[in-house]
Symmetry: C2
Subunit: 144 residues, 2 copies
């Protein structure tokens, strides 16, 4: 049950933006370099994040990307849904017609529980929380 690089890269990229000053745009190139991601590939992921309204872009020289909302207004679940094409662990959760057994399928019940557990975690964390956590970690480093 691996996450796609799509989701992994996209999440890391938007965390970079959340950690970045919201006034100065951060260039794709820089994010790609810092996160060791193919710039061309990341470009496509940014399109997705942009059209979903999480980031905005400034074109041309000195352009780049910015977080479009306050980091405490963006839940990880939102980003996750936007990146990971399929939200559900199994098709039949969203689409009951997918399988005729759906209505009384115990396996489906289990996968629903799993999915809800995932949702709960991701809904409970905002980008702000992630940024705070990162800062906390760094503060800890200095104490050593």
């Amino acid at each position: 049950m691996k996450l796609s690089t799509r989701t992994r890269y996209g999440m890391r990229a938007i965390i970079e933006l959340a950690e970045n000053d919201r006034k100065r745009p951060l260039q794709l190139k820089v994010i790609a370099q810092r996160q060791d991601i193919s710039a061309k590939y990341l470009e496509q992921l940014m399109v997705v994040l942009k059209s979903a309204g999480f980031v905005r872009s400034i074109r041309g020289a000195k352009g780049g990307y910015l977080l479009a909302k306050a980091p405490n207004q963006i839940k990880l679940s939102d980003i996750f849904h936007c990146l990971e094409g399929t939200v559900s662990t199994v098709e039949c959760i969203e689409n009951e017609d997918y399988c005729k057994r759906a209505a009384d399928c115990v396996a489906r019940q289990v996968w629903t529980q799993v999915q809800e557990a995932i949702e709960n975690v991701l809904q409970s964390i905002t980008l702000q929380d992630v940024v705070d956590r990162a800062k906390g970690d760094k503060a800890l480093d200095y104490q050593i």
Copy 2:
């Protein structure tokens, strides 16, 4: 974050076995038919479940498959791990060397939380629980 059919099919198959009388073997063909799975494909999944010790088989005429342990001794997490090749949402959770940033990567922390949530759900459910649930559902049907 879709589950592989491997996991979905395998889980449904072993639930069939758990629902079945533990004395009489259930044939692959029957499971495949009931669950609408390619018999030849399921065959390969049964090998996996067998070598992991969850099911045992009886060859030859009147043969088939049986649950190898009491259903209350098999947690869904065990089956899940055995079927779903990769247990972790991201490689770096198990293998810290996979990425040099791992040690202080906040994304990694998030995925770890997600993974733990999944584990918790699956560890809390045994095959017996699933069987009981299925029976409960059927009992409910009759009342209508």
